[in-house]
Symmetry: D2
Subunit: 154 residues, 4 copies
């Protein structure tokens, strides 16, 4: 019961299929841990290849899964022939991402016919406790009647 | 001749050293191709591990090198005992990143005692021509008398 | 019970005094309708001087009270000798601001020693119902031991 | 010679007409001082009704003319039957707006069929010298075949 209208019953399969085709998500070790109408969760276990100079998760990993969770949260509410594109996002870092797992939870704030606004909160899990380490506010465009394919942006 | 005041003659070595200690930049195959007062360039060659679902560079790679180029551009103007932290950034995607190399050029718009504002333009190189594919506007904090070390944020 | 630490018992008086000294808030007809630890509400009644070309509240009014509510939400948690400065904000418009009253509710997402992250939601009231028309994510700097006075930024 | 394609020869008249119908721009005392393909300039003379608590131009005035200059810069490149909507913007404050006149210069960074990305720089003029006090990066949507009229957003 999210209040969101579902326009495509296969939304979860479409999200999972698109996620699986992103080489970068695989390289990060990212897993799609939840797909629901208007929300998506992505988790990344710690790995030395994902660090910044202090040995914590790099901000680039945080940004990547914040953006991706927001985009797929948008995608859950789209029609079966639509594609999604990130227009822009803004990310605030709030605490060092020092922990064993990074979790990004994206949710739709405002669905639209042309653009959808989403927020993603990114948490780091340390000793079993979650800590908010970043938040993202972003805008995603719906490309109607476009396969999940490259398109001239804009 | 940039008009920026240099507060640490070793700025280029410090940037190169810090960059080299980021596991994530190595994992992306990123190279620091220019360090100058108030500006930094980073390049990433194409690789299937860096793709989104259409086979182009993933937005997460773009965000990672936009943020990193902005942060190190700030760092070039800091004192020898300062550390730098990304407070936040905003990234607009402008064209698909379809090409052989991604180039991020970060520059300081406004240096400050406490915070520095930077812009990074990200280009994709295809058939030898550069195309602007994203731009970032971000805010970086100076942590005085702090080794380039983990710190409680904020 | 907000979980926020109050560092200055007079926070509400300080916020009200600073708000009252802003000529622009008076010119907008803005009223401070709530001040609590970590949150502030501002209301603006409709007026033809506040419109864009379609006769709705102008985005500039929305931005002004979103930023101001975020800044004063930060200010409620500061020490008695601190001052506050907006570093930056990002504002997403989500629906036309067509109504009789505009309400901005700012709240602290993450208080900090140096910077505080806030979110403001802006609602328009029409026929007694509130509709979310914009959301702001912003960063505010604490200037310690500085009267609520002009300061070199950064 | 801007490199931008003009799709409507009457662009300057349309911008001037739309600007003139904004009650808020009139209330600010804002004047449209330049309209060219892909760029627009707005000026606001100082007035006590436009101040924050230190007697400088309020950030809300800066945001209003940054957004408006960006939106009209977009509008100069649109077709004769298109309308424009601000999707979102991000504004960084860089120096106190202490001066006699505020000048916002908006320019198109990337025109698009659906969305246009613009940047506005805001300067304050004091003793005849301009100082950069803020910069905005924003996204504007084109509404085709829509009078410059209210529209359901998104």
């Amino acid at each position: 019961m999210t209040g969101f209208e579902i326009r495509n019953e296969d939304y979860a399969d479409r999200v999972r299929g698109s996620f699986a085709s992103q080489g970068f998500m695989a390289a990060l070790g990212a897993r799609l841990t939840r797909v629901a109408p208007g929300s998506v969760e992505i988790q990344v276990p710690f790995n030395k290849e994902l660090t910044q100079q202090h040995g914590f998760f790099h901000g680039g990993v945080i940004g990547a899964i914040a953006d991706t969770a927001g985009g797929y949260a948008s995608y859950t509410l789209m029609g079966g022939s639509d594609s999604v594109l990130t227009i822009e996002y803004k990310l605030n870092f709030m605490a060092p991402a020092d922990g064993a797992t990074l979790i990004s939870r994206g949710r739709v704030l405002r669905p639209g016919r042309r653009v959808t606004v989403c927020q993603s909160d990114v948490f780091v899990v340390r000793d079993g406790a979650e800590k908010l380490c970043a938040t993202m506010l972003g805008t995603f465009m719906i490309l109607p009647n476009m396969a999940d394919e490259p398109a001239a942006q804009g």
